[in-house]
């Protein structure tokens, strides 16, 4: 019974944080906002070189062959650092492609996904918005029946949808059915892809919340009013205590969901919903309180807080906002199909 990370896993998380905060600087993020594009070829290939894009791709296809437990740690850090690249999409797409029985499709895309030579966009469960579709070499999407198909990037008809998070390029997408190539992925793999996207987004959201909390704590320890630090006033102290309690207690939900997914436990879908619902609720509250802690300065374009707040809003509503997952959980719980806790001791 060991619900914690190994030294290697923690080292990976540290390396990811160092790389993300070191390369995706505030200056770089502002540049993305100015260009209205979060993708940058150089940064993307560095992610590839570090093995992060192919984290979940099997080693025989050029990936790291790691599990969701490692992925969730990396994605937390990506959320923390505000990484604007479609890293999540790459990580989720890897195992889905790897499960494709269409060997030609799988073998042609998987190694390139891992190196970063190819960018894969993702559209699951009929999501109306596709991230970075303009940069995609291939889109993995689902037809109405649920079958997973691949569409070449140059066969997509895109309409740009401006996001309040100006580092996100999101599109509505159309294509001719004739251009859709079936992956022939088993249902189990398609369900896992959804669960993975949900857990991965939850992990990123937790990172975003963590980042906003850290900014608020730093500010409270620097800003003075009435002759003392604003962090010495109880109202601010208590807000920060509540924010930290939220962040500290929500992160393990994504870790458990990742563990469940990685080990194909029976509660993997439920655990994913729990993680996403919890992550969304926490982000909403931390988002609100972070602005309060910053006061007027937090309301300026110039200050970086809003970059995280808007990323938070975007991720909160991706792959099912809290209400959507809570409704599903309610249905299952009231039907007696969901336990009152993860299967940790049972």
């Amino acid at each position: 019974m060991y619900f914690d990370f190994t030294d290697d896993q923690l080292a990976l998380a540290h390396a990811a944080r160092d790389m993300f905060t070191g390369r995706f600087t505030a200056e770089h993020l502002r540049g993305c906002w100015d260009r209205k594009d979060g993708h940058d070829a150089e940064h993307w290939s560095e992610l590839g070189a570090m093995g992060l894009l192919g984290l979940l791709v099997p080693e025989d296809h050029g990936g790291m062959g790691m599990t969701d437990v490692e992925a969730v740690l990396v994605l937390e850090q990506a959320g923390y650092a505000g990484v604007p690249e479609p890293l999540l999409d790459a990580i989720v797409a890897g195992p889905l492609l790897a499960a494709a029985r269409n060997a030609e499709l799988r073998d042609s895309w998987l190694p390139r996904l891992a190196t970063g030579d190819a960018i894969v966009a993702l559209q699951l469960n009929g999501a109306p918005l596709v991230v970075a579709a303009d940069h995609a070499d291939v889109l993995l999407t689902q037809l109405e029946g649920g079958d997973c198909v691949a569409v070449s990037g140059d066969r997509l008809r895109l309409e740009r949808q401006a996001s309040m998070d100006q580092s996100r390029t999101v599109f509505s997408v159309e294509f001719d059915p004739g251009d859709a190539v079936p992956l022939e992925a088993p249902d189990e793999a398609v369900q896992a892809a959804w669960d993975r996207a949900v857990v991965s987004t939850a992990a990123m959201l937790n990172g975003v919340s963590w980042g906003m909390f850290d900014m608020s704590l730093t500010y409270a320890k620097e800003r003075e009013q009435f002759g003392r630090l604003i962090g010495s006033f109880q109202a601010i102290k208590h807000k920060l205590a509540d924010m930290w309690t939220l962040v500290d207690t929500v992160r393990p939900t994504a870790w458990y969901a990742a563990y469940s997914l990685a080990n194909r436990l029976e509660d993997q879908t439920q655990a994913a919903s729990v993680a996403k619902a919890a992550a969304g609720r926490v982000e909403r509250q931390v988002n609100r309180e972070a602005l309060q802690c910053h006061g007027g300065i937090g309301f300026t374009w110039e200050h970086n807080l809003h970059l995280w707040m808007k990323r938070g809003v975007a991720l909160e509503h991706s792959y099912g906002q809290a209400e959507v997952h809570e409704d599903r959980l309610a249905e299952g719980f009231f039907a007696g199909e969901i336990a009152d806790g993860p299967a940790i001791f049972d």
Binding site: M1, D4, K221, P252, V274, A278, E326, A330, F333, D340
Partner: protein, 390 residues
């Protein structure tokens, strides 16, 4: 990350499950604060003791199993799942006992520990005073040096089970001339001694869960002093650390509550359109979160990490969650929310209202949540401390 149990843990669990299945009373015992109920709970504690399950966390030399944290958590999980009776001797088993084990002399351990285990002696905590609640260092109950011991004068309040207790662990001031946190001494006193008077206090849920204790020239022999005079604060903090630790914050407890809430909602659904299933699902996610958080924390502690003041995060989290669960239950009773369980039209399945009020105490006992937020912000986050009296 590996959530499987070792063979040893599996064996322990299997044996425990069997024992609980064979021994847990099929009907709930009478409330432990009634005379009959108290005796029934005492008898149950004795059965636990005879089966070796009385205090598994105590060292073997003192009658426990020397169980590690993970095994303790397993025990608590299975115990709650089995719907076993409320552990009424918590103060003896988890507070006084460990304090005597950590700080007592062999002679004191001989005298007191076994009788705690067998439930021959009931113990209660006498720390807080009318002027010393959150500000515990403000203790004024005095202990004046006398021949062979101390003479105690003063008053304690919020002494849980004070009216049932045989022994009290008491924080007294032996030296009023040194800074507040010094000059305190930890003593054990008998409620039956001359000069000790216990008066039960009625709580808002009708229970007399705690009492006032008045000391009028009550004598404490030197033999009943724990460690040295002046060590009181340090030992009291250690005792309270136990309270904040594994304590009440057991995930399966809240798993039980959320399941009851669901069942209540199913019941109320027939009559009221107030039930908000989404809100209940939200609480469910918080219960799941607490499971995961607890397991992570337990793993860290098992690896030797001293979580220290971060224990306040857990207490803040579960107490707010508990209060929310019971609050939601009351609200979904609609116009019948005001009815006590005895009312024929009541939707209360038995003890929901009583536990609703008690759940609100969760934000107050073991350190109010305002104090917990101070601790988290100051000791965990490093923010400036509140202005304090020297």
């Amino acid at each position: 990350m590996d959530l499987t149990l070792t063979e040893e843990q599996q064996t322990f669990r299997a044996e425990l499950r069997d024992w609980l299945a064979d021994n847990v009373p099929p009907e709930p015992l009478a409330h432990h604060l009634t005379d009959a109920g108290f005796e029934a709970h005492r008898a149950w504690e004795h059965r636990l003791f005879e089966a070796g399950y009385g205090a598994i966390h105590w060292p073997e030399e003192h009658g426990g199993k020397g169980a590690d944290l993970m095994t303790q958590a397993l025990f608590e999980h299975e115990y709650r799942r089995a719907g076993a009776p409320h552990r009424v001797n918590i103060q003896g088993l988890n507070l006084a006992g460990p304090t005597i084990i950590d700080f007592g002399t062999p002679e004191q351990q001989q005298r007191w520990l076994h009788r705690i285990l067998t439930w021959e002696d009931v113990w209660a905590q006498a720390f807080s005073e009318p002027e010393a609640g959150s500000d515990l260092a403000n203790v004024r109950t005095s202990a004046r040096r006398a021949e062979g011991g101390f003479v105690v004068n003063g008053q304690k309040v919020w002494t849980s089970l004070g009216d049932r207790a045989d022994w009290l662990f008491v924080l007294v001031r032996t030296d009023p001339d040194v800074p507040r946190h010094q000059g305190l001494t930890y003593v054990m006193m008998k409620t039956s001694d001359d000069g000790v008077e216990v008066r039960p206090i009625k709580q808002i849920n009708g229970d007399s869960g705690f009492s006032e204790v008045f000391f009028t020239d009550a004598f404490v022999p030197d033999d009943n002093v724990i460690s040295q005079p002046g060590d009181g604060w340090k030992i009291a903090m250690a005792t309270m650390g136990h309270e904040r630790g594994l304590g009440r914050g057991i995930p399966a407890l809240f798993g039980g509550f959320i399941t009851e809430l669901r069942d209540l909602a199913r019941e109320a659904d027939a009559d009221a359109e107030i039930v908000d299933r989404r809100e209940i699902a939200q609480l469910l996610t918080r219960v799941w979160a607490f499971h995961a958080f607890f397991m992570h924390r337990l793993t860290r502690m098992t690896s030797g990490e001293d979580i220290g003041f971060a224990a306040s995060i857990g207490k803040l989290y579960w107490s707010e969650m508990e209060a929310q669960i019971f609050d939601t239950g009351v609200r979904l009773m609609g116009e019948r929310a005001e009815l006590s369980p005895q009312a024929p039209m009541s939707l209360d399945p038995g003890s929901w209202h009583q536990r609703y009020w008690h759940s609100r105490a969760a934000r107050i006992y073991a350190g109010t949540n305002e104090i917990q937020r101070n601790i988290i912000s100051e000791r965990v986050l490093g923010l400036p401390k509140e202005p304090r009296r020297p």
